[in-house]
């Protein structure tokens, strides 16, 4: 397959062959598997999604870039799974910060990739990871040298332009000891049915800190699978913001393994309407003592949309003094919308502080009436309240350009006249 085919090192070939065997044996996940019980992906198997050849990727994506490309970031653009240097903005990167396409990294960072790719998640995880490992074309590679604090955010834009296309991308992010970086993964597409399958592996080394925001704003008819797998070394901090706005069917897996005193924060917001199915699956493994995890996922579901939250926190026997909270809050805007939520705590240590909470509710009549009594019409009142529910998650974003992009997307869903930030 194009770029990657050029550098088929033996280790990679072995990895791909193994993944292919794995995929041939198990296929895509079935709802019979506990971790997929709420999400049936058989529709994907019935469709015929095909990889895109380079000659087809001449579609104009200017409009998408105008909305989604952060002006104050280094950005790497992948169109239909292939790196587009002409659309990317990577000038002025400091020497200590490596940002390139995964395909290029297979040449110049082969040793690093050999030691990392497939290490945060293996092809045995499930069919999508096996599929991705066997077929990925390109992706983002980032390495931040030890002690470097990256001055600007780094963004990767995945743009799908072709009907019935299939893209598989693999991203590897390495923050060496005491390094700090903020990254943004954006998934968008032109109005078509397509499948986007992306796997991201992140290595946060000792005392390093990584913040990653995922903006899933795929086309209405798209299928999205995204897996983010994180290894946090001692004292490493990882913060993830997961915004799921688009797709007909989307599934995100966010898994993190925590060593001693590592801190993990997982935030999520899923907005479903019409017949969207948005599934978020998180797993936090506290393997060692003194780890901290904070998790808050919020869902807003309208029409016949269905939202799924499966959050699992596992505290190993050795992980004493773990401090963990997990919350999932859902707002149902229609009688036909559905929220399936399943928080799971598995605690094998005896000296820990762990909690979880779940709510599924509707807008409160008394709040709507309060706004009406101040002259605001009922529809706007509902928009204001729904927006406010969602905005708690956008408010956690400190990067101004990203926050403003997210606010715009949110206001499109919940229009109101005189919004002031």
């Amino acid at each position: 397959m194009n770029a990657v085919a050029k550098n088929q090192q033996s280790w990679l070939q072995a990895l791909r062959t193994e993944a292919l065997t794995q995929f041939a044996a198990q296929g895509f996940p079935s709802p019979r598997a506990e971790e997929w019980r709420y999400t049936n992906v058989s529709a994907i198997e019935k469709k015929r999604f095909l990889p895109v050849s380079e000659s087809q990727t001449a579609v104009d994506v200017t409009d998408i870039l105008t909305v989604y490309q952060l002006k104050d970031a280094w950005s790497l653009v992948l169109v239909d799974g292939q790196f587009r240097a002409d659309l990317s903005a990577l000038d002025g990167l400091p020497e200590a910060v490596t940002v390139m396409s995964t395909a290029n990294a297979l040449d110049s960072e082969a040793e690093t990739l050999q030691r990392t790719l497939g290490q945060a998640v293996s092809a045995t995880e499930h069919g999508f990871v096996a599929f991705n490992t066997a077929h990925f074309t390109d992706g983002l590679f980032v390495r931040i040298a030890a002690k470097q604090v990256v001055a600007k955010p780094i963004q990767v834009l995945h743009i799908a332009t072709q009907a019935d296309s299939l893209t598989a991308t693999r991203t590897v992010i390495i923050a060496e000891k005491m390094a700090e970086a903020e990254l943004v993964e954006t998934f968008v597409g032109i109005d078509n049915s397509y499948l986007s399958a992306a796997v991201t592996e992140i290595f946060v080394e000792e005392c390093a800190a990584v913040t990653l925001t995922k903006v899933q704003s795929e086309a209405d008819k798209a299928y999205h699978f995204g897996g983010t797998y994180v290894k946090q070394a001692r004292n490493a901090r990882f913060t993830h913001h997961n915004f799921a706005f688009g797709s007909l069917l989307a599934r995100s897996d966010i898994h993190s393994d925590l060593e001693d005193a590592a801190e993990c924060e997982l935030n999520g917001l899923y907005l479903g309407a019409k017949r969207q199915h948005l599934d978020n699956h998180t797993r936090i493994n506290h393997n060692k003592p003194h780890g901290i995890s904070r998790e808050l996922y919020k869902g807003i579901l309208d029409d016949r949309a269905r939202g799924v939250f499966q959050g699992r926190v596992v505290v190993a026997e050795d992980a004493q003094k773990t401090d963990s909270t997990m919350n999932n809050r859902n707002l149902l805007l229609s009688a036909d919308a559905e929220a399936d939520t399943k928080p799971q705590l598995e605690i094998y240590a005896d000296d820990v502080k762990c909690g979880h909470g779940v709510t599924v509710g509707q807008l409160e009549d008394k709040s709507i009436f309060y706004l009406q009594s101040r002259g605001i019409d009922i529809e706007t009142a509902r928009h204001i309240l729904t927006f406010a529910f969602a905005n708690e998650m956008v408010d956690k974003i400190t990067l101004v350009s990203l926050k403003s992009m997210l606010l715009k997307l949110l206001l499109q869903h919940f229009p109101q006249d005189s919004y002031v930030d």
Binding site: G375, D377, I384, A388, S418
Partner: protein, 247 residues
Amino acid sequence: MLSIKDLTVSVGDKQILKGINLEIKAGEIHAIMGPNGSGKSTLSHILSGKGGYEVTGGSVTYQGKDLLEMPPEIRAREGVFLAFQYPVEIAGVSNIYLLKAALNSVRKYHGLSEVDAMDFLTLIKEKVRLLEMDEKFLYRAVNEGFSGGEKKRNEILQMAILEPKLCILDETDSGLDIDALKIVSEGVNSLRSPDRAFIMVTHYQRLLDYIKPDYVHVLAHGQIVKSGGAELALELEEKGYSWVEAA
């Protein structure tokens, strides 16, 4: 300004208001007093358009229009304002945003353009000072984590910004210490004008020490059992509600 005639209201099978008659003219302040369960809050809810009640008879005419036909937001835009007994906490919506959205809805209804950002800030800061509030309150979520007194002040702040014609204060004195009561009362008094009327719904007389009513009505068992001047409130305070309830 407001004319209530033979108003009867039920919740489910239970009749709460059993024939209320009340005439309120611009510039007047009416106090409605009564024991718990007399129907005081129901009356203020009915006037502001809160759901969950069934009007079984009578009429309410406001500035020549049928008030009961209007949805709550239209009543607000027409100048009816309810200062809530229990102001609602709204997470994620800043106070200043609510004030701006509310003011603009009212202006739009009257064919006016959106308020200029600078003018709005000037206006709001003036009112905040009047109510001795910290400007930080403007940027906090509506009523979230506010003390009882702060919530009530916030209601009066909204009233001061929206400049309604008919102000209904529902148990505004409940939960207020004496200092907050003074500030809130001064805020209300500063809004008194010949073209604005007030209905003050209250259990106790003490609010009326600070905001002097023109008329006092005593509500018991869903009916106005006695009406009089400001002196009626003092008499009630002395003799207790059993005095009028028995009457």
